[in-house]
Symmetry: D2
Subunit: 355 residues, 4 copies
C-alpha cells in the first residue's frame, strides 16, 4: 500500500538510509510545464536544517526525474523520480538494531515483517515524505492552471494557538517565520517554546491548518469517496498525525440553526453566507473555501532516558543522541499542502469521468 490516489497516483519507495527515496507519479495529465525551480523550492521547505529550530542534518535533496517528461513537459507517461540519500552515517544506528524504542515503528514493523531496516527508522522515517512533496509540487503546478491554491500553516504548538478562523490571518506571511505561522507574535512564542523544549531534550506537537481556495463545485464521490474522507485519509497517512477535522470539526457545542450554511444568490453566483461546512457538503465541494486542521504528536525521539525492552524482551534504558527535530510542525506544513494538492487534483480528474 505504497500507492496513493485513484487517477493521479503516487507510488513511493525508499528508506532513510538506503540508496535513495523516490516514487512514480502515474496518471499525471500531459502537457504540464515542469517548473524545476518550484519543485526544488517545495523540497527545500521540507528539508531538514533550514532554520535554527529544525534538525541540522543537511542534505541537498535534489530531485532527479527519470521519465515521463519530454522537452520540459509531462507526457502522460509515468514520472519516475528519486532523491539520493547522502550524508548517511549508518553506523550511528547500530545501537538501535535490537531495541524497541517507545512509540516508534521498531516493535510493530519487527512483529509484522520479521525483519526491519533499523537505520534511521528505515521506511517509517519522515524522509519518506520527500516523494509526497515532489508529487504534490507537480499537482500544484496543474492546480495553479485551474485557479486552485493550497495554503497550510502552523496554527498551534503545544498550548500556543491561533484562533480557528483562518480568515483572521494573512496567509502570505506564513513563510516569513521559521515556524510557518502567519501571526508574527504567536510565531515568536512558538519558537521560544520549541527552544525550551529542545533544551530539555524533549519534543512537542501541534496543529497545522490548511486552506484550499478556488476548488470547483462538484469534487467528491459519494458515499465512500467523500472529499473530506479522502483528505482525512491523506492527512492521517502522514507520519505523526493523530487527528483530522474539517469545517467546525470537533466543536459540536453549537446548534444546527447556528451551523447550517444558508445559500444566497450574489448576482447570479450561488454561494453560502457562512462556511461552517468547510467547503464540502455531503462529501462534495460546494465552491467555498475548504479548510481543515491536522494534529501532530510530539516527535518520539527524545534526548532523555527512557525505559523500554530489547528484541529479546529484556528491560533496558535508552537515550537518543544526535540531531533531531524537537517539533515537526514547521516541516510538516509543506507535506500537508502536498497531500492536499494530490487529493484535489485526483478528485478533479475523477470528476471528469462523470459522463
Amino acid at each position: 500500500m505504497n500507492t496513493f490516489g485513484n487517477i493521479f497516483r503516487l507510488t513511493s519507495f525508499g528508506e532513510s538510509h538506503g540508496e535513495a527515496v523516490g516514487g512514480i507519479i502515474d496518471g499525471c495529465p500531459p502537457g504540464i510545464e515542469i517548473d524545476m525551480e518550484f519543485i526544488q523550492s517545495e523540497l527545500n521547505r521540507r528539508r531538514p536544517g533550514q532554520s535554527r529550530i529544525t534538525t541540522p542534518r543537511v542534505e541537498g535533496d535534489k530531485v532527479i526525474f527519470l521519465s515521463g517528461i519530454f522537452e520540459g513537459k509531462t507526457t502522460g507517461m509515468p514520472i519516475g523520480f528519486m532523491i539520493k540519500n547522502e550524508n548517511q552515517r549508518s553506523s550511528d544506528y547500530d545501537h538501535l538494531k535490537d531495541v524497541y524504542r517507545p512509540s516508534h515503528a521498531d516493535y510493530t514493523y519487527q512483529q509484522k515483517y520479521g525483519i526491519r531496516d533499523y537505520r534511521g527508522s528505515g521506511r517509517s522515517s519522515a524522509r519518506e515524505t520527500i516523494a509526497r512533496v515532489v508529487a504534490g509540487a507537480v499537482a500544484k503546478l496543474y492546480l495553479k492552471q485551474i485557479g486552485v491554491s493550497v495554503s497550510a500553516y502552523t496554527s498551534q504548538i503545544g498550548d500556543i494557538k491561533l484562533e480557528n478562523d483562518y480568515k483572521k490571518y494573512d496567509l502570505s506571511k506564513t513563510e516569513e517565520t521559521p515556524v510557518r505561522c502567519p501571526d508574527a507574535e504567536k510565531a515568536e512564542q512558538m519558537i521560544e517554546l520549541i527552544k525550551q523544549v529542545q533544551y530539555k531534550g524533549d519534543t512537542i506537537g501541534g496543529v497545522v491548518t490548511c486552506v484550499i481556495q478556488g476548488t470547483p463545485v462538484g469534487l467528491g464521490e459519494p458515499v465512500f469517496g467523500k472529499l473530506h474522507a479522502a483528505l482525512g485519509a491523506a492527512m492521517l497517512g502522514i507520519n505523526a498525525v493523530k487527528g483530522f477535522e474539517y469545517g467546525h470539526g470537533f466543536d459540536v457545542s453549537k446548534r444546527g440553526s447556528e451551523l447550517n450554511d444558508s445559500f444566497s444568490n450574489d448576482n447570479g453566483k450561488i454561494s453560502t453566507r457562512t462556511n461552517h461546512s468547510g467547503g464540502i457538503q455531503a462529501g462534495i465541494s460546494n465552491g467555498q473555501d475548504i479548510y481543515f486542521r491536522v494534529a501532530f504528536k510530539p516527535v518520539s525521539t527524545i534526548l532523555m532516558d527512557q525505559q523500554t525492552v530489547d528484541v529479546k524482551g529484556k528491560n533496558i534504558t535508552i537515550k537518543a543522541q544526535g540531531r533531531h527535530d524537537a517539533c515537526v510542525l514547521p516541516r510538516a506544513v509543506p507535506i500537508v499542502e502536498a497531500m492536499a494538492a494530490m487529493v484535489i487534483l485526483d478528485y478533479y480528474l475523477l470528476s471528469k469521468t462523470n459522463g
Copy 2:
C-alpha cells in the same frame, strides 16, 4: 465509489425512497455461521423510532439475503442483500424538488450530476448506512471468532461530555440508556438536552468514542495504508462526521516525554505501560486497545425558518416539517462500530498476504 475495503469489500446501493437499499459483500471468508438474530439486532440499533429521542418513522428494516450463504454459512461467494423501503410517502418531498436546503446535499448533487432523487435526500440519506450495518454485523461475527470486540458509545452531546479515558466507564452499560452513553447520570443530562433542542425544532451534534479490543499485532499497511488512516477514512465517510482523532489526538499540549509509550515485558508478553498511541504505532496495531473519537455535526434538517435559494437562484424561506432526529448520535453508535469492524477484518485478511 460506492465500494469500501480492500479484501472484505462492501458495495452499497439505494436511495431513501427508492425500491430498496442494500449491498454486496465481496471477499467474505467462507464458513462463517450467519446469526440472523444478531444481524437483525444490529439493524434494530440503527433503526429510527427505537426510543423517545429518535425519529418516530417506524420501519421494519428486515434484511433479505439473496446469495452467498448456503445452509446457514457463508460460502466465500458475494453476499447480496437488500432491505426494502417501506413507509414511503414520496409526496412528502415534492416541496424539496426545487430547493437547496442549507448544509444538505441538494446543491452539490444537483451541480455535480445535473439530476437528483430529491425524495428524502435520496442517496445522501442516512438510510444508506443500513448496508454498512449489515456488512459490519457480518464482520463482527468473524471478528468474534478471533477474539476481537468493537464497542462504541456516545461520549459527548453538545457541551455535555464524558472524560476522554474510556477505561473510566463500564461499556457493558452503553445499551442501557437510549442515548447509548455508559454513564447513567450524563446520559440523563444528554437526553434532557436533546429534548430541549428538539422542542425548539433545533438539532445538536456530539462525539462517539470507539474502542477495539483484542486486535492482533501487525494490522496496518505502511505508508498510505496506515490502520488509523483507514479507520479515519471509514469514519469520515459516515454522514455528518466532521472529525476523527485517535490516541491523544488533538490534545497536543503535552511533551514527547509524557506521551511516549514505553514497552515492558510482563512475563514474556511485551506490552506498553501507557497507551497514548491508541494501539497503533507507525500505522500498525501493537496489540493494545485501539480507541478513537468521531465528531458528528448537528442534523441539518431543522424545524425552523431558514433563508436559502431555489434551483433557479431565487431567495426563499423554507421550514422543514415532520419527523426528524434532533440528534443522530445514539443511532450513529452502531454505524461507527460497523465501519470499524469492517476495517479491522479487512486489514486482518490483508495481513495474511504478508508472505
Copy 3:
C-alpha cells in the same frame, strides 16, 4: 473479485439456485434514459429456452431495478438490480452434493472454500452472466449516444466455420438464425451439427467473433491497461472461454511488411489502409473497427457415462440428466457483446481523466 471495471464498474452476486442473481452498477454516468424494453430484449437473447437448440429451462428473467434511476434516467448513483431465480428444483441436484464432475467447478471450489453451493453449479453457473447482460445493456445505451456499436456473432461451431474477415458478412442478419450466425447456409449446418451432438448426449464448442465500430481514437491505457488486454480479460472471464485473439491474432505466418497498417489521409481524415491491427495500436484505439475472436469450449455437462471421483476420493461413474445446452455459442453472443460494451464505456470514461 466480483467487481469488473475501473470507472464503470459492475459488482455481481448470485448463485443458480439462490434467491436471486443481480448486481450493482457503479460509476454509471447520470442522465442516461433507461430503455427497459431494450434491456429486457438483451436478457431475452441470453435466456435459456429461446429456440430449439437451447435448453428448455424457461425463466422469465425479468430485471428489477432497485436504485440509481429516477424518473426514467440514471442519476449517477449506484444502480442496484436483481433477477429472481424461479423454476428452481433444487432437489434435482442432491446427487451432485458429493461428486466432482469432470471439468466443472466442483473440485476447485470445494478445495478452495471448503464449502460450495452445489445446486445447479452455484456461483459458477452461467446464470451468473445475467448481471453482465444487464450492465452491458446499460453501457450500450450510453455508447449508442456517442456512436459506438457492438456486434457479435457465432463464427464457428465445431469444424464449421465462417471466414475470419467479418466484412464478408451482413451482421444485421445475425439475429435471423437461432445460432446467431449471419451466414444462413453455414447457420443451417451449425444447427444440424448441434442437433447431432445433442442427440448423442454430447456437447460442442466454437468461436464468437465481435466487432466494435465507431470507437473514438484514444481509448486504452499503456502499459498494463492496453485496450485489448482489458477486452481479453473481459472475455476470458466469461464461463467456458479458452482463448482470445484480436486483429490477425494467432495467424502469424505473414511478414511484417504484409501486416503493417499504413496510414493514409483521406480528405483530412487519417485512417489506415488495412486493419490487421484490429483497431488498436500500442494498446490504444486508432478509430478503425475493433474486432476479436473468442473461443468457447464444449459444455462440460454431458448426458453420457463419465468416470470420476466423489468428495471422499472414491471412483464412481456419473451420468447427467435433464435439460442442458449442447452448445452455448448462441447464448454467448449477447454476453460477449455485454462485456465488450462495458470495457469500451469504461475506457471511454477513463480517457476523460487525461487532463
Copy 4:
C-alpha cells in the same frame, strides 16, 4: 495504469531514451533472499544483442536496487529499482518526430496525449519490459521456495511450429538454442527463417508456449478474477501480443466427451486423467500443469519502403534504418515467464485472504 497486480504489484516507469527505466515492487513478502546473479541472468535473457538473431544494440542493463532490501533480503517494503539507459543516440530518431509509422504507437499516442517522446518509440518501446523481467525474477525467487516453476519457449516462428503438446519436448533444452526452442531441429529451421526474413529487411512473428508446474490447488478468484483471465491480461499487456489461449484453446473441433478431464484417485491424491482444461477449472487452479500459448505479431519496424502520413497528414514514404530485431520471439520468452510468475505469486498471496 502502469501498475500491475493486486497484492504483489509492479509499477513501472521509463522511456527508451530517457534517463532510466525501472519500477517499484510493492507487496513483496519479506524475507526473500535476493539472488542478484539470478536476477541479472534473467535480464540477460531479455537483453538485445545476445545472439546472432537479435538486435546488436548492446547494453549492460545492470539493475540497481534502491530500497526494500536489507542485508540481502526483502523487508516487505517497496523495492525501488532502475536500469540506466546507456548507448543512447537520440539523434537517430529525429526523423521520427513528425512521422506516424505504420502499426507503431506514434499516431495513437500523439492523438491521446497531444505530445510524445518519439525517441526510440518512447514509452511504447519494448525496453519498458525490463521492469517486468526484474519483478518477475523476484517473483520466481519466491515461487521456487514453494515449488512452482515457470517455463516458456518458442513454439512457432512463421509457419514453422512445434506440436501443441508441451510434454513432447524436453524443456530443459530451451536455452540451448538462440531461438529458445527446445526442439533442436525445428530451432535450426526457425533460425534459418529469421535470417531469410532479416536479409530482406522484413520481420516475422510466432508463438510462445508457457508451462507452469507445481501450482497449488485453489489459485484464482471467481468470477472476474479467474486465474486464466489474469494470465491472459498479463500476456496481452506485453508489446506485440495478439492472442492468448490456454488448455485446448481455439481447438474447438472436439466434443465435450473428448475434452472433459475426468478425476481419478491416485493413492489418495486426486488428479485428472487428462488436462485439456490447462490446469484451471472454473477459473481456479486444480493442481495440474497450467499451460497456455501467446501469439506475437511481427515487429512493426521493417527496413523497407512504407507509405504513411506525417503529423500534418501529408503522404510520405519512410524506410527504417539501423539495428532492429527481425523477430522478437526469443527475447519474449523471459518476458512471458516474468509476467506469468508475477500473476501466480499475486494469486498465491491473494488466496491467503480466503479466511
